[in-house]
Point group: D2
Chain length 445, copies 4
């Protein structure tokens, strides 16, 4: 496993030193032959060994050979259209068990079984995750690989089912090797070294991660939580190294998810964050029955981009209530007046902003979150939490004064509220195009 997992970590394709060009050229056909052998009746009896071999060979492929490999998976390891059609016809004639089983078998691309057999190798799961990472990169320029990619996603979703994942708390007793990965993968509020991390692992801050038994020591996704007395409006104090930890547990009334980060690009699209947040909420509720509120303190990463790209087009929108539209256009005008340049926002200093500027931007942000989230123009973080069934709760001016925060959202942050009793209802309404917002936000709009 060591070998493969090191390969998986390395990730970089390319010719290992010492292999001749000729040997390299042969590698691809060796990999494909191995795959065919693995799928053959003959190979079944020795599949673990063959899978091990194929994965070791795969690790030596160059970037071009990997592309060629995935193209072969597409062309040679898909279902036979004619056979599927016949099976579908027979099933349509009489939907019997045997005909259905024949149809399902005919329709499933053989590469799915190939991946399942590759997964028999010890350390195979890590390599398959890494393969998908490569594949996702390639997909950008080779959209025809979509069906291959779909098969990877299908299987990985089944294998990384939350029922198979282990949630573990990460704290200062965790292995340094794990903490290093946390530092490296934190995607929302950068962790600036060990001292910075340490503050986030004090008793009033928690960090939880999902692990898969086949990827020991590899966090899949992690979430950082602050246990505080009130719903926080700014992230700075939460992660300030100098802030003294609150050790009086009676003060923990609100659990705030202030950061969630994926660690495995190869698992993109596999639902993890949704499950992690809910499992952590349950865990914390059990540990601290006094907790009354579960919410986030979230960035609005798409706001400035939207302001520059889509807000100017509001004038042409016909789907908006006239009154709201009027107020939005007024707000846009106010922005221009206060020095902003349409299409080139980025320069507001939240703490020096005038009240009218602040009001104008807040209205636009509220609109962006409450209305645009159900459109392709919406904020990705909003889509994530609202899609999970959370409620849009509160806008926070000057919530994130970091460079990144100013650049992405002029310092604005937002709280989403997770109320486990209403999750399903909120989610359903969101799916049908409605964002559930707090009364205060509704009033604002």
């Amino acid at each position: 496993m060591m070998l493969l997992s090191r390969m998986a970590q390395r990730g970089r394709p390319g010719r290992p030193p010492g292999r001749s060009a000729r040997a390299q050229a042969r590698l691809l056909s060796q990999v494909v032959d191995g795959c065919r052998r693995l799928l053959s009746e003959r190979g079944e009896s020795n599949s673990v060994a063959i899978a091990q071999e194929v994965l070791a060979l795969y690790a030596g492929l160059t970037a071009e050979q990997r592309l060629a490999f995935f193209k072969l998976l597409d062309s040679d390891f898909g279902p036979d259209p004619k056979a599927v059609l016949e099976a579908a016809q027979r099933y349509a004639e009489a939907p019997e068990a045997t005909r259905l089983m024949a149809l399902i078998h005919a329709a499933e691309p053989p590469r799915q079984e190939l991946l399942r057999r590759l997964n028999r190798a010890s350390g195979g799961t890590a390599v398959i995750v890494e393969m998908r990472r490569t594949l996702l990169e390639l997909l950008k320029t080779h959209p025809d690989l979509a069906a291959v990619e779909a098969d990877f996603l299908h299987l990985l979703s089944s294998w990384f089912n939350p029922g198979f994942l282990q949630m573990e708390q990460v704290d200062w007793r965790s292995p340094a090797a794990l903490l290093e990965k946390i530092i490296q993968h934190e995607a929302v509020h950068e962790i600036d070294g060990w001292a910075d991390l340490r503050r986030r692992l004090q008793p009033d801050r928690r960090c939880f991660a999902f692990f898969h038994p086949q990827l020991p020591g590899e966090p899949l996704i992690f979430v950082e939580v602050a246990l505080v007395a009130e719903m926080p409006a700014a992230v700075g104090p939460l992660i300030d190294v100098r802030s003294p930890p609150q050790t009086d547990e009676r003060q923990y009334r609100v659990a705030t998810f202030y950061s969630i980060s994926n660690c495995q690009p190869g698992l993109k699209g596999v639902s993890l964050g949704n499950f992690l947040i809910k499992r952590v909420a349950e865990h914390l509720q059990r540990e601290f029955p006094q907790l009354r509120t579960f919410c986030t303190l979230s960035p609005i990463p798409g706001f400035v981009a939207w302001l520059n790209q889509h807000a100017p087009g509001l004038r042409e929108r016909e789907d908006l209530p006239p009154k709201l539209k009027a107020r939005l256009l007024q707000a846009l005008a106010a922005l221009v007046q206060h020095g902003g340049e349409p299409g080139a926002w980025s320069a507001v200093q939240p703490q020096q902003a005038s009240e009218p500027l602040r009001e104008a931007l807040s209205l636009l942000a509220a609109f962006y979150l409450a209305h645009e989230s159900v459109t392709p123009r919406g904020d990705p973080v909003a889509k994530f939490h609202l899609g999970n069934g959370a409620r849009l709760e509160r806008l926070n001016w000057a919530g994130d004064l970091s460079r990144k925060g100013l650049k992405q959202s002029l310092g604005l942050m937002v709280n989403y509220l997770y109320d486990l009793r209403h999750i399903e209802d909120h989610h359903e309404r969101f799916v049908h195009g409605e964002v559930v917002a707090s009364r205060a936000l509704q009033r604002l709009l």
Copy 2:
């Protein structure tokens, strides 16, 4: 998890005390409603909680309700024949990625996704395995459930992939709760209590089991191995409580698999034994480089039944070489002469048998194993090992003098040889109708 796993263990359907007949009647529709909700867009946001609920309700169903539940899975949670046909036609017209993806989606029975979502509940895997156990029972009398059962098998095979299984040695330091399960599930050579078990866990006897991370403490399958100086011909001495353990490891030249037992009826048909034997062989080879031979000492459970049921028909067989056929008929005649009654074998005392009787029976057994194993009449254990790529190595007269051994095979046992270099070749030849046997056995025939 506790709750569900206790349910899973209990296994028995039925009305828990205290539930009214009316409440009981409502249960089934509650389960099915839960399943629909789980598959709905709305349910997605809360799937772990819903899955938990559905599985808890399922545990309360009576036997009849379970049957009705599986029937509903068949009728209401299968693919739509018309939709599949259309998708297959579109794919046949132009095999593009999007059309393929649409086809695969259309052809997959929704109950597969249902099972994946049920599996999100903690402890869900155990319940699903238990569901399949029930389903396999029902299948005997309700063959129309075959397609539903196939979906269970499909998913469980993916989830119990050997890449996800943990092999662990079972020994005297193992938890008593685990050892108790070993005693209970040993299917080949009964373990008569703790003293008997203990002999089988001494340094020169090993026991290895597969575990799944989601079923902690639950062995899936286990194999017992004897480390000995020579390929053994009888099982009695191997498991004799009074035999002194050989602690001089230099004497370990042959690793003999003398028993392999499944513990989970719900995983029937999921390939486990094949992988376990090979993983154990690798493990032992690393631990004891001096090991030269990996073989089994196996029962021939179907021999007497074949002798009674199929041997009389040898006279009519036209597929046999005339010379062999003549010898077989002669052997049958010898049996009759020596007191056996055609069609009612069971009474031979191996240790008192005359030489001609012994020869006659050995010939017939060799034929049964070497020829019949590739037919439906073949021995199940022979099919298993030969299908795994082992070689038929040696017949052992008076190898198993237990009541069961005498009844099933008149005391005959057989060794299969696992030579990792030839596994693939032997397996392929077996698939094509040829049994690879040792030279000695070839000569005998």
Copy 3:
């Protein structure tokens, strides 16, 4: 460590096969030379290796050589009387720090330091415990070894300080190797095999043991507890294999210690049971706050022996209140009348006993426990619990109908009550010759 611990377990002295008589004869002087070297300045630099060597040599000594070895420890490794006297005189003249340190050094037998250095060997502790076991055996016939034995006890008491011991629950998930030791060492109510043990590990029965980090897997002492609704009067129902476990934890009001057994004869005299009972009581009180009573259900192992040996002498006793004495003599007379033979008690069938017989025996037993426990004639179990600060609570007629129970105490059992608030007081009164008993028992007397 393996080697030494195996030696320690084996325990049996004697010439290993293959050592010549001459080599054997040399062994003792090799051991003693090793000891001197270990204590020397020179040996200090290499003491772990030397200790290892000495202990390995010691393991090969015959029984006679071991005796000789301990005699040498006595004669050659004790303090120098003259040096001690001088040091004591100097200290008596002026009790200064340096003189005190010199005195302490002079008075400590060098064999104490020898044992501390032997203990540096890995696995050394196990061997030293085993040495003391041998020494205790020898002490019976060689009382002059008392000072050597005292040094062993002194050090082992320091090393097996309760602060260093780990209390662990033993249950059905414990390693079979550990459970086997529990079965083997149970000294009060014999465990008849695994089924019998299993009942004692169900949720309403608990077993806790002390372990020392240096003796992994080796229980030092263990106690068995029943969680019940009322203080029990008979042990049979508590350990009956067929009694259904009470799983409703709300019913647990009384924790009854019904058995406590030492596993290490080499630790005799090291206080363990007292600490274990109190640590278990604290543990259970935390786990089940509803527990109201901690008591024992104890045998009275010395009663019949006392009845035969000492009761006849009551007539001559002058230390008893006349009224009590009269009642006791009357009871003795009643016994004779009811068929008992003075000096040869053993034959009462508790369940058929007449009321007067029962009354007479109860009075005598109450007297035995409440009065004699503070004398050398007292019951060892009573001395243990009363010395721990427990209260004599209740006599139970027909409490133990096992053969052993009938033989030792005519079936009588007794409850001692542990009330943590009064432990110190009861203990002190016991030390000063008073047994604290319940009002009911006081009335009886």
Copy 4:
């Protein structure tokens, strides 16, 4: 335990907020009363609880109260001079077992038993270690506490016997909380943050620590080792963050101990380093049989101080061979000539030093190590390794160019060689005043 261990860690005496001056004043007598109660017959029955209480009270004492407490331990908890004298006389008259036992009992200060009983509290060991830390501080100004301190050392030496310690490898998978302690306690070559530490935990660098079961997570002492191809002459390259790790294990021929640091001031004087080095050497030899040499790369912390303080007096020394003395005086003259100021050395730049200067300093350093180590003027590190049985192997010019290295030893370093076969011999010769040095160093002198 948490509570006490937190107290132990805090370590700082003082009045906790909220305790009145009056309550504070009472504390000391409460502590002492608790100690007397703990030693009393009465307290024995409840000793764990009392010990817990006493230690909790002790934690609240102010610095002055602690001093008073230790003085009371000295005056009130020592042996009775008269009783000891009598016991010694009786033993001198007739050295019998009972008299010896009485003597030993009389001579042992009761505070030893007090400490053993305090140690019964969970977490007690940590507090006792911390007590001794305080006591060692106080000893500097209160030498009359020496006998009390000796009792602490006596018991801690017995409890922290190497047989009770666990050696564990510290690496990048170790808990961050442990690594942080390693960074903090490294005493030889400062660790500058996590990146610096990480280099020292790569495969070709090892770190091992001793732990005690009662102080989980608390390293007692640790040693850092470099696995290299040749005996190293300078420490810079070994700990250079940018040096690439050597992962080819075949290159590991020499294991170099380049740093050893104690973590527990309260264990000063308890022999740990000697045992750790040897246990690590054995461990590495097993892991890498190709290792041929075990040596140190050590600082010479006392060299410059000796040069300034003692070298000027060489002229008056009469114990030196005349030839050597002449050479040493010549070297001293050379130093002066090359700019050094007698009695104020510190300014040499090793890399720019002239050859004669270098030779002069090397001769003096070799003399310092090879001759002075057996005198009170000797180097503490030299005394440690030579006392452990190592050989003085090689002087290394410019071995440590850090500020500290230049200041303490003008950059000079030294290798000591551990040859397990000669340890005892070297140690004995050292004890008798002889330093064993390599031939090269002998020649130099």
